[in-house]
Symmetry: C2
Subunit: 334 residues, 2 copies
DNA sequence: TTGTATGCGTTATCAG
DNA sequence: CTGATAACGCATACAA
């Protein structure tokens, strides 16, 4: 009952044929007679024959498995991306193995190690917040395993990546706030070590500058979680810094901000407008619904996977950096 | 540059040894001389030798890969479970491949098909809402591939499963509502086709009964999403049905309820108390924070994976159904 | 049109 | 202590 797997050999024996004939018949090889083909196909279906992945992989030295390394699965954005990756993978009969770095440089290395046996056909990565050196990717690269980065690419040339136009997304968000009359806009920023953290800050600054609003260090602070968002508001209030809007680097931070604002008795959006980033599930569910910048994660996953497949199949690729639009979704916090 | 994989053969040639000797040296076989061992180990490290997974899998007919089929990854609960699964998998150097059914019976079948090549060592499944027949699992079972169900097991004996005590969770939630003085408690239920849907309803009814509160059909309706939660409240109000509490089958539904209540000008918790189920991320972030029933998803994933590994390794297993506690988390909506 | 031999990377068996 | 060989399941160059 255990090793009840049907192999090409079983069906060859049953039919009095050689394995090669069966193999060819199954692949619809032109050299095989119609009758033989029919017999083989018929029997193989009856026996529910399924080719052995591992044997195929060994033979072709191609596993049809790609690896994915992300910071945390438990995030609407990342799980959307995975869904997009899966969608394209399924179409190509490829499998996806996901490993989490939990935002830790060390765990990222371990995940990479797990893949470095070189049995995956390709890798899709979004680096951890801690990651600032990139040698650990070299080994894979050297082995000729294609890598595509998304959302948080490494700072290096010659890498393929799929990113959002975080700069423009942030610029638009801030410009929108200015348009509705806000003048003292705070930015709760992500870590400067990440591409997205820097780009969003850059967009924020540029929008201010283009609109003749002076930049103030006091209005920018690092806060990229629910808890830090709340603490940020309290810090601002405690220091007596005036502000009439807060633009956060992600929606969870915005949630913390909303909550702290309420605690402080500050009205949203009357006194302070809030704009998040990410359009998490939660954004439309909270009360009031959060204005935020939408990042189509699923789309990003699709593009990343397609790019990777093209690299695996050596399809001549045009661009190395794919930039996806991020667009502002106006709801009731502004 | 392409096929730069180092094999056992390369290091054998380099050292003028046979592959078998190298293989044994690498496995620390007692028959091998210390010097040979040292030389082999040293060179293999220098060459960054990594055994070829596929060859090993083929030889041992064990891939060290397990499959997981879940309804939707984009859910805090399911992604927590996956994290738990991964955690245990990593410890055992096993890999996890996740497929989504998107709550569709058909896609569940396709996912299963993808695994039915029989190259996975085991399978962990939570069935889709649509699934009510279970023949599609038979093929895998027949092949002797162990399956462990979680959260939503199939209605069948002889299956291993990990579930929450949904009955008790619901019972406790309702009893708590009664204790704080609520008498007209509505239940926004999940689909009757799912184990959890039925169990939670059962717990709801029993708690009422044990406390001498008559059960009313009017107070139970099917609503298991953000949108349906809102619609449910409106339906209740439109029909003029009195209620002073709502117990929902999940947190998203509760979010919809909260929002609709606010729209209707009904105060929470003064006029109506709300209890969710799941303790999603969102529950503690909303304002007011949601009272809910916590289901430790990560723990569930850990137990499921450990159970599966035991089955794969033929460890004599005691119980077939593992039941995890679900406990009420009181916050500000009650 | 079909069969034979070989190899993919590894380990286990059996000889030296 | 070490080496040659077969086998895992499949595909393919080469024979027949």
């Amino acid at each position: 009952m255990k090793n009840s797997r049907v192999t090409i050999k079983d069906i060859a024996k049953e039919l009095g044929l050689s394995v090669s004939t069966v193999s060819r018949a199954l692949k619809d090889h032109p050299d095989i007679s119609v009758e033989t083909k029919k017999a083989v196909v018929e029997l193989s279906q009856r026996l529910k024959y399924k080719p052995n992945m591992m044997a195929l992989s060994l033979k072709n030295s191609r596993s049809n498995i790609v690896g994915v390394i992300i910071p945390e699965l438990v995030h609407y954005f990342f799980s959307s991306v995975i869904s997009g990756i899966q969608e394209v993978a399924d179409k190509h009969k490829m499998r996806v193995i996901v490993q989490q770095s939990n935002e830790s440089f060390e765990q990222e290395g371990e995940a990479l190690d797990a893949f470095s046996d070189g049995w995956i056909d390709g890798l899709i990565v979004s680096i951890s917040k801690e990651t600032s050196t990139y040698e650990h990717f070299d080994e894979l690269q050297a082995k000729g395993i294609p890598i595509v980065f998304f959302d948080r690419p490494i700072e290096q040339d010659n890498v393929d990546s799929v990113v959002f136009d975080d700069y423009k997304g942030a610029y638009d968000a801030v410009e929108y706030l200015l348009k509705i009359g806000r003048r003292s806009i705070a930015h709760f920023a992500g870590p400067a070590s990440t591409h997205v953290g820097r780009e969003r800050l850059r967009g924020y600054k540029k929008a201010l500058q283009d609109n003749g609003i002076p930049f103030s260090e006091d209005l920018v602070l690092y806060a990229d979680s629910f808890e830090k968002g709340g603490a940020g508001v309290e810090a601002l209030v405690a220091k007596g810094i005036e502000f009439d809007a807060i633009f956060t680097c992600n929606d969870f931070t915005a949630m913390g901000v909303l909550k702290a604002l309420k605690r402080e008795g500050i009205l949203v959006p009357d006194q302070v407008a809030v704009v998040g980033f990410g359009d998490e599930d939660i954004a439309r569910m909270v009360e009031p619904p959060l204005t935020t910048v939408r990042q189509p994660g699923r789309e990003m996953g699709r593009v990343a996977m397609q790019t990777l497949i093209d690299k695996i199949d050596k399809v001549p690729t045009k661009e190395r950096v794919h930039t996806l639009e991020a667009s502002i979704i106006v709801r009731e916090t502004t």
